[in-house]
């Protein structure tokens, strides 16, 4: 019972804040609402018994990614005035397009019947031990390969931020 209310509460927060992300004029408000959305998502993860992911989600998204975002916004000092006025036609078109996408998705997925739901047999799948075993077992290769991804991202970010010597 409790968890259902929680679900609806978190869902409401997530969607409401997601909307505000899009429609806030000031980028920093967008970022802050996005953080709230992320927290709501983390709450959902908790509800879904994925504690590890919830914590990682907070650390990575709220703790690192969004900090970077806000950092950049501050550094660039993006205020309300920066965003120029866009023609309403484009805005309406964008909204309509997005809404159509949403409608299509919702309409297509509304009727989804999950035929092959296995029994609520394994509450421990979100536990770190399980995840660790899978990650370093079956997913060893992607784990190793993702180091290349990080290296390249790191080199790339450093390269782009470096002052070019001329």
């Amino acid at each position: 019972m409790m968890s259902q209310y929680l679900f609806y509460f978190l869902t409401f927060v997530a969607i409401f804040c997601a909307l505000l992300v899009v429609f806030s004029k000031n980028p920093i408000y967008s970022a802050l609402f996005l953080i709230v959305t992320f927290f709501a998502t983390a709450g959902h993860y908790f509800l879904l018994n994925a504690q590890f992911l919830a914590a990682v989600h907070v650390i990575v998204y709220a703790g690192a990614i969004m900090v970077l975002f806000i950092y950049v916004i501050m550094m660039l000092n993006l205020n309300r005035e920066v965003e120029p006025h866009k023609s309403t036609a484009i805005k309406i078109a964008a909204t309509v397009c997005g809404c159509i996408l949403g409608l299509v998705l919702v309409a297509a997925l509304r009727e989804t019947e999950m035929s092959a739901i296995s029994e609520y047999s394994n509450p421990g799948i979100g536990l770190i031990e399980r995840l660790g075993n899978v990650l370093f077992g079956a997913y060893m290769v992607p784990f190793e390969i993702s180091t290349v991804l990080f290296l390249s991202a790191m080199v790339g970010a450093v390269f782009l931020s470096k002052k070019s010597i001329h």
Partner: protein, 105 residues
């Protein structure tokens, strides 16, 4: 938490679809590259949530590991993306994507 008994999976699918669409709307609606980027993060986030929901309902760990990778990739992408943004800002003093019109055919 017995979420699985009270809430059907469909609810999660719909929630994620809506979040995804909001992200997409944001990408189309906003002109500020930073906000567009945030909306993209929102989209990634919605698929993350859906994957976790699936994982819970299927009792399958794989999806959660996938989410883990998505987070890793998102972090990497953000670092590069913000570096690009800063670079652009240094040269143009704006993050408005409409200001970028040097390349038109």
């Amino acid at each position: 938490m017995e979420i699985i008994k009270g809430i059907p999976l469909t609810s999660y699918i719909l929630l994620c679809s809506i979040l995804f669409s909001i992200g997409a709307i944001g990408v189309l609606y906003r002109r500020n590259a930073l906000v567009i980027f945030m909306c993209i993060e929102l989209m990634l986030n919605s698929s993350n949530l859906l994957l976790v929901a699936f994982s819970r309902y299927f009792s399958d760990t794989n999806a959660q590991v996938f989410v883990f990778f998505i987070m890793a990739v998102a972090a990497a992408e953000v670092s590069v993306g913000l570096a690009i943004l800063m670079m652009v800002y240094r040269n143009t003093k704006t993050t408005d994507i409409d200001a970028l019109n040097k390349l038109k055919f």
